[in-house]
């Protein structure tokens, strides 16, 4: 990150002066040649270093500022050619659409907002999938070539799996297109609502008096448009289909990777899952046994108390007046040694109070 404030600040100040005088001219009916906000912003960006600085907050601030300056530029462009009091909701909407570079299924504010979320702290389906696909690209190429060949002989099963994988890829693309279409719809709805909200604010006394105020109206409208789509039955179906299709692709590729690694003698995910599941089941059974043992100890202790002559069967574990406590934090070494000394006499089976399971952190 460079500290070039001194170098760029005079330029920026000069441009702001130009901006103000140009706008004043425009308000008098002269054409506005150029809007310098974006250039000023670009200069500021240079002073900080580019986006993707490695500082996530900085990148987010810069990203948000960029969008806001795009927005302001669109508004100022509109105001420069039309006096503020003459700007209509429809003309404001048009200006905003232009500021966003037009509206299309692959280029719309809703999709941009979703894409913008991906970061170190939040990786979406699309982002995760893109990163992950980089790793499995060779498989995709392999699978594509397999599609053109008939499946027979020794490689039949393998080829069929790869063909199924390609089918899953194709399905994912289809679902992604359906999703993008809905985001386009959300953006259009958002702009419709923006226009409606502006119309509502045309009443005397309710006018918008600041850029930020106008931006907030845009955000409210965009969220409402998005929510209307996102809460629809169609979106529920499309969203589910998109996620499910991506999972099918991932699963088929994971299976292929596992087969490949297994052929090299490496353990795969499936084997680890088996181990983890068995370990989990085993630990659960041990916990249940421990608790049963504690209950038996308590019963035996109570019985011994009721019959001091000793008719009851003595418990294996240490009998105390209080039921044994579960392990409390990490035992101190001295306490551990003391207990280890006492333990062999108490039981040669399961020690109810302590287990490695409970003392691990």
């Amino acid at each position: 990150m460079t500290d070039s404030k001194a170098a760029w600040m005079p330029d920026w100040q000069s441009m702001q002066k130009q901006f103000f005088s140009a706008w004043t001219d425009a308000a008098r009916g002269n054409a506005l040649p150029q809007m310098p906000i974006q250039q000023g912003f670009d200069l500021w960006m240079k002073s900080l270093g580019a986006r993707d600085s490695g500082n996530e907050v900085l990148d987010k601030v810069v990203g948000g500022a960029k969008q806001f300056t795009d927005f302001m530029q669109g508004v100022i462009g509109q105001l420069a050619t039309t006096p503020a009091e003459m700007a209509t909701p429809a003309s404001m909407r048009e200006a905003l659409e232009k500021a966003f570079g037009g509206l299309a299924p692959q280029n719309n504010p809703a999709l941009d907002a979703l894409r913008g979320i991906s970061s170190e702290g939040a990786k979406g389906f699309e982002e995760m999938f893109r990163e992950w696909l980089k790793q499995v690209k060779p498989l995709e190429t392999d699978a594509r070539s397999a599609l053109s060949m008939p499946a027979f002989g020794m490689n039949r099963e393998s080829q069929e799996r790869k063909q199924a994988m390609m089918q899953a890829f194709a399905d994912y693309q289809d679902q992604n297109n359906r999703y993008n279409t809905l985001m386009f719809k959300a953006s259009r709805l958002g702009l419709d609502k923006f226009e409606s909200k502006l119309a509502e604010r045309s009443e005397p006394g309710r006018e918008i008096t600041s850029m930020r105020g106008l931006y907030d109206v845009f955000v409210d409208a965009a969220e409402e448009g998005y929510a209307e789509v996102a809460l629809s039955a169609e979106f529920r179906e499309v969203y589910g289909a998109l996620v499910n299709s991506q999972m099918r692709v991932r699963q088929s590729v994971q299976d292929e990777v596992e087969r490949s690694t297994a052929s090299l003698g490496m353990p795969g995910r499936g084997e680890l899952d088996t181990v983890h599941q068995r370990m989990h089941d085993l630990r659960k059974r041990v916990a249940e046994l421990e608790e049963k043992l504690i209950q038996m100890t308590e019963l035996a202790t109570a019985a011994a108390g009721a019959n001091p002559a000793g008719d009851a069967v003595a418990p294996q574990a240490t009998a105390t007046d209080e039921p044994p406590e579960p392990q409390l934090s990490e035992p101190k070494p001295a306490a551990r040694a003391k207990r280890a000394k006492a333990a062999p006499k108490a039981t040669n089976a399961v020690q109810p109070k302590s287990s490695s399971r409970r003392s691990r952190s």
Partner: protein
């Protein structure tokens, strides 16, 4: 007349101020200190697997003889309840004389993939409640469940009513099928078995992404435009960064528990429809007969009020109190209003219930 009454001079000033803030912010961002959360001193009193049960230390001896155990959600870290000294539910409860314990679930890894709701509720929570009860020589303690942890607490209180003296739920969903519940709406088309079988544990990053996509313009753009307002204020910026750290410090979700939670709560809505089993235990909310205080947030976009309000008619208690907090899912812990209202309400309510 049009919708705009923006004076060119005022607009110019606004642009200038914005860029000045950005410029000053560039300097402050370089000077800002590392931020941590978890302000109150605490002692680990029990550990099991990755779980740690903490007891918080107040400045004075607790007055209330029945301690509170906070059961937080599995998503995000539980230290939202103790974010910083002047924004801490825990600290406020301690100041009112409550004795506060909290379960920190830790960060599940691949070895925890098969940890289920049975393990969490009939295992971890039950043992933590037993540990706290034993320490205080009590049969039952107060349980404060938050969000998903609130749903767990409802299940726990229904299965083990004798272990819960008073139940407090905060931003807790009960009815997952209300029309304004976007998160629930999205999960309904998921093939949750395919999802978990493929991913194993569910990445915390993916959870965050889903939360941010609930309001993509507000949470990903407007929030950072607004940040510029405080970008030149080191202290406020650090507060903001502390919150960011909490938001994005998200543990992965144990696959099996996630599968069961989505299937039984989000998709089948079994807390309302009935038929919920946790392990081999039936969950019948009518067995929740202890006093219940339910606190929901009126502007909650994750757990809409409509998801929490039906609790009253689903549980068995005749002693039900509700607090509608004016704020959102996070503001209920960290806003100025929360500091004034939430802990005092809990304390006063507990005082009345012994």
């Amino acid at each position: 007349m049009g919708p705009l009454r923006i004076d060119p001079k005022a607009a110019f000033d606004e642009v200038s101020r914005y860029t000045q803030k950005l410029t000053a912010g560039a300097k402050v961002l370089r000077e800002v200190d590392d931020v941590e959360y978890g302000a109150t001193e605490k002692e680990a009193i029990y550990r099991e697997d990755k779980l740690v049960l903490y007891r918080f230390k107040g400045d004075s001896t607790p007055i209330n003889k029945t301690p509170i155990l906070i059961v937080y959600a599995l998503v995000n870290r539980p230290f939202m309840t103790d974010l910083q000294a002047d924004r801490s539910l825990v600290r406020n409860l301690l100041a009112h004389g409550e004795d506060v314990y909290l379960i920190d679930w830790g960060y599940p890894d691949a070895a925890d993939r098969y940890v289920s709701l049975d393990d969490y509720i009939n295992g971890y929570i039950r043992r933590c409640v037993d540990v706290v009860a034993r320490r205080h020589k009590l049969k039952a303690i107060n349980v404060l469940g938050i969000c998903q942890g609130g749903a767990f607490s409802l299940c726990f209180a229904a299965i083990y009513p004798d272990k819960v003296k008073n139940l407090i739920t905060m931003v807790t969903p009960v009815d997952f099928h209300t029309p304004d519940n976007m998160l629930s709406h999205w999960t309904r088309g998921l093939d949750i078995d395919l999802f978990v079988d493929t991913l194993g544990n569910v990445p915390g990053d993916l959870m965050n992404y889903c939360y941010l996509t609930l309001k993509p313009f507000r949470l990903n753009l407007q929030k950072y435009v607004g940040l510029v307002d405080i970008l030149d204020n080191k202290e406020e910026l650090e507060n903001f960064l502390r919150m960011e750290k909490w938001i994005f410090d998200s543990p992965n979700q144990a696959g099996q528990a996630f599968r069961e939670f989505i299937r039984d709560f989000y998709q089948a809505n079994k807390l309302v429809e009935g038929g919920l089993k946790i392990g081999d235990k039936d969950v019948d909310l009518k067995k929740i007969t202890m006093p219940v205080l339910n606190i929901y947030a009126e502007q909650d976009h994750l757990v809409p009020p409509s998801a929490s309000i039906p609790m009253k008619n689903l549980i068995g208690t005749k002693d039900y109190t509700v607090l509608a907090f004016k704020g959102g899912h996070i503001g209920i812990y960290v806003s100025g209003r929360a500091q004034r209202e939430v802990a005092p309400t809990i304390h006063t309510w507990l005082s009345k219930h012994g």
